[in-house]
Symmetry: C2
């Protein structure tokens, strides 16, 4: 079978600490399951590169990455030297948009052995997916500041949604729900306050739901939805959300499972016209960088999602995915653990333990 | 002293069930503390009115309410008959905007006796204010749908922020923080994704912070901020937020304290050019309406906030506020309790218990 080509970009901060562990596990899995893949490292898309070149990436970044099947990404951002909106818009958000990775898929699951911040919840009680639109919506640089420096100073900020973007996101969410036992889609909305785009999203979701008579659609305003992530997490199965709402829910969800150090994400171009990108949900975490205490599990789990995607969820690739997730579960249960999980282990202790189990 | 005039609008759903309890407690407090006030009831700003008149309020609503010092509001919304954006934009959001109630102040506090959904947290661990901008921002009907029904269908949704709006919100937040012991302001931002308005908010907050050398400013992206409401609630003191972010945080925060049935809110025009509005954070809750099991405490606490505002935080008014909050605490501790707090009591059992304690 065709060799799968993976571009590796570690980025900034703890991205540089967790990536080696991701690769360690990737190599162990590739060996055990005999997966045909090759990796290439790129030393850009980080703030040191910006310091030297005045931009986050070389001009031909797209040509350099275009031929790859997947991008394995650490984290980007070093606000002490480059403002976040500059570093992010110059790298990660470019990938998502220009490689049309329109699905951001983020599993939320409570693992056995992780102290849950929600009282009385046990594994199985929290188990859902956030399906986030990843290329449009509230994240734009459209708009501007007017009358700056006067008492009339004002800012316009535009959000842009397309029917194509909403429909393909909703289709993915409904397909996913249909493949699961609960068959339930929650739409994150705010149609009572945001008066143009959100009522339109409601209608798009209602129209899509007609194609899935066996799937229940539940529209919930984002405010009460966040409350229910805390109070009634068992209610959720697949949560479909705009770029911003999905961003919020996919940090909050993992927080309710104990730590965002575990949460992986897949930025998918399901048609494979472009490489898809796999990264931990946590950012570059400048506050803990350098201590080598970052939890590498989100990175490792992202590797698993990547393998599953590369193999279309089948054969040895799927087995590799499952084996990695099992090894993660086992490591969480019996250690070693990084400080976010109450342990004293270093980043590489955890990576080694997981690799060993493979 | 001058008689304070209060306009009462119960609205829809459980708004109609909790309002009588709010008034019961208001009357008890007025009697005990000899507060000069009068109430007038208005039978509009609800969806039954809409059914009859095709609009939520009479044309001269503003003239009718203009002379009042405060509006006591229940909840509005009955989506089965009137879409939420129609009912809300036709009532509550009009009040907030046309009466320039630019501060939405929402205390978040864990009470003794409420089972906390966060493991291991006790009263004192969660105690902060969300200070929400209440008149502009993401809540607009500006924008539109283009190419409808074609494969180019798209939606533009505008957010509008003014410097005046940001500055007065920030000033209120910093003043509040300065009056508290922690002296800490968190700004909810998303300047790494929303590329025009949010970096501008960051700058406005940094500029305001210069006037308050004794107050710490901490900017946090909304995604990780929601995570920290769950993982590290003790970090927060005063959280300043745009309309949308404040909406989210002020449902999520109360959820972490056990129930949004307790959360009150004050929609303030601090200059008193217009009446301020006091309402529970929970909505009309069609799902439980009719059973008379709604928790009236959010309504009662809103009454307390109103009295405090009407008396400028002084004298008998402040005493009345404190007495009501004490009575709430005591009732939460020793019952009766509505089902959201694990009890079997009805709405009026709780209202009566609180009134009795006064
Ligand atoms: C009902 C709705 C429009 C309102 C809001 O979003 O402001 C409510 O959620 C609130 O928080 O007061
Ligand atoms: C870093 C930031 C731009 C990014 C986002 O908001 O999408 C991150 O929070 C995420 O969720 O991947």
């Amino acid at each position: 079978s065709k060799k799968q080509r993976i571009a590796v970009l570690a980025g900034d901060g703890i991205g540089k600490e967790v990536m080696p562990e991701g690769i360690r596990v990737l190599e162990a899995a590739a060996k055990r399951f005999d997966l045909p893949l090759e990796m290439q490292h790129f030393d850009w898309a980080h703030c040191d590169y910006f310091a030297q070149h005045g931009q986050m990436m070389p001009d031909d970044w797209k040509a350099q990455l275009q031929g790859f099947d997947a991008i394995l990404f650490g984290a980007v951002g070093w606000p002490a030297t480059v403002p976040d909106h500059v570093s992010l818009w110059g790298s990660l958000l470019k990938f998502r948009r220009e490689f049309d990775q329109y699905i951001n898929l983020r599993p939320v699951r409570l693992f056995d052995g992780v102290p849950c911040p929600l009282a009385g919840r046990k594994p199985g009680d929290i188990d859902y997916y956030v399906v986030r639109e990843n290329t449009e919506g509230e994240y734009t640089a459209l708009g501007g500041i007017m009358f700056e420096g006067t008492d009339r100073e004002m800012v316009l900020q535009e959000a842009v949604f397309t029917r194509k973007g909403a429909d393909r996101l909703l289709k993915f969410a409904f397909d996913l729900a249909q493949s699961r036992s609960k068959k339930h889609v929650t739409l994150a909305t705010k149609s009572n306050g945001i008066a143009i785009s959100m009522p339109w999203w409601d209608k798009c979701a209602e129209a899509m739901a007609k194609n899935y008579p066996d799937v229940v659609l539940d529209k919930q305003h984002i405010d009460i939805l966040t409350a229910r992530f805390v109070l009634q997490p068992g209610r959720f199965d697949v949560v479909a959300a705009t770029n911003l709402f999905g961003d919020i829910l996919s940090d909050l969800g993992p927080a309710t499972t104990g730590t965002i150090g575990l949460a992986p994400s897949a930025n998918l171009n399901p048609e494979r016209n472009f490489p898809s990108l796999f990264e931990p949900v946590h950012g570059s975490a400048p506050d803990i960088y350098g201590q080598k205490i970052a939890n590498p599990i989100a990175m490792v789990w992202s590797v698993a999602l990547m393998l599953d995607f590369l193999g279309n969820g089948q054969g040895a690739w799927r087995q590799a995915h499952d084996a990695i997730v099992d090894a993660i579960s086992q490591t969480i249960l019996s250690g070693p653990r990084t400080p976010d999980l109450g342990g004293q282990a270093k980043t590489d202790d955890v990576g080694q333990a997981i690799a060993q189990l493979l």
